[in-house]
Point group: C2
Chain length 163, copies 2
DNA sequence: TATTGTTATACTCTATAACTATA
DNA sequence: TATAGTTATAGAGTATAACAATA
């Protein structure tokens, strides 16, 4: 996420909202990536681990769809994660074409730690805000997310709305 | 930006704020990248163009520092942008070791269009919000950005706060 | 001696296309 | 014939290290 450069210094509220949002999100992303690198993992691989934690053991095909990435790409990511001991690759019971990817104990532990670090970051950033302001903030986020879905619908692009 | 997967479904306000923020920012990033690809450019190259638009003609050394990237990396990005006609590479007047990178007319035009598309997106997303809610939203963003800078100070990391 | 940018090398993420094994 | 995953190939972004030209 390299969008800090979009800080345009404009004073129009909508533009300031967008700039602030991108800037804050860039800083959070940096923080999250620091955590990832401390564990010797890349964002793409962590994404796969996260998905695996949410969906349970999956075929590479399923992972490719969930991650919106080619099957070939998943092969590489799983290769790396098998090497680092975060997942196992086993024959799929019931379909001998497919392989089943499963979190190891270390993989599960990482996902749990990531969740905790995520919550911790949220608390550090938003934990001190008065409840009513935080609720109003979340409301704007939610409404804007919906508006975005609407805009994408108009434009024809539907991707990215789910999950 | 592949952080949609951090949507944890938690109902705690701080976590919901962080999730919503990352999700919205991911959608905006997708939109911005669509614009970039329509122009046959990548995020890294656009970042360089943007920097060049903000700082004016620069040496590759300056660009490397501004983009927080190695000089070698800048060589590659500039190579591509010279090839696509967005920048020129000329001998630096006064330091024969250095080269000066400058936006072409096409490069400037792109930066202007990017700015406009940026503003347009902001208006589509936030333009309909009542002024007071938008101001409150921006206030939370600003305070959180400051809090983040403070946290980074504690942790020792200072990067990313500027610009 | 220090700095600017390059060549050399390498790793990761990403994609398409062709191919194998299985359904 | 269609699907799951692989090998082959390619391109972009990123990094370090060694080196040439200049300061």
């Amino acid at each position: 996420m390299k969008y800090l450069h979009y800080m345009s210094g404009s004073t129009m509220p909508p533009t300031r909202a967008l700039d602030g949002l991108l800037a804050l999100s860039a800083l959070m992303t940096t923080d999250i990536q620091r955590f990832e690198r401390e564990h010797g993992l890349t964002t793409a691989r962590v994404h796969l681990l996260w998905q695996l934690g949410a969906a349970g053991p999956s075929t590479q095909r399923d992972l490719a769809e969930a991650l919106r990435v080619t099957p070939r790409n998943v092969t590489g990511l799983v290769d790396g994660l098998v090497g680092s001991g975060h997942v196992t690759r086993e024959p799929h019971p019931g379909d001998r074409r497919a392989t089943q990817v499963t979190l190891t104990a270390a993989g599960s532990r990482f996902v749990t730690e990531l969740q905790r670090s995520h919550q911790d970051l949220a608390d550090r950033l938003f934990g001190d805000l008065p409840e009513d302001r935080l609720v109003a903030f979340v409301a704007v986020l939610d409404e804007t997310l919906e508006r975005f879905a609407g805009l994408m619908g108009e434009t024809g692009e539907q991707e990215g709305t789910a999950s």
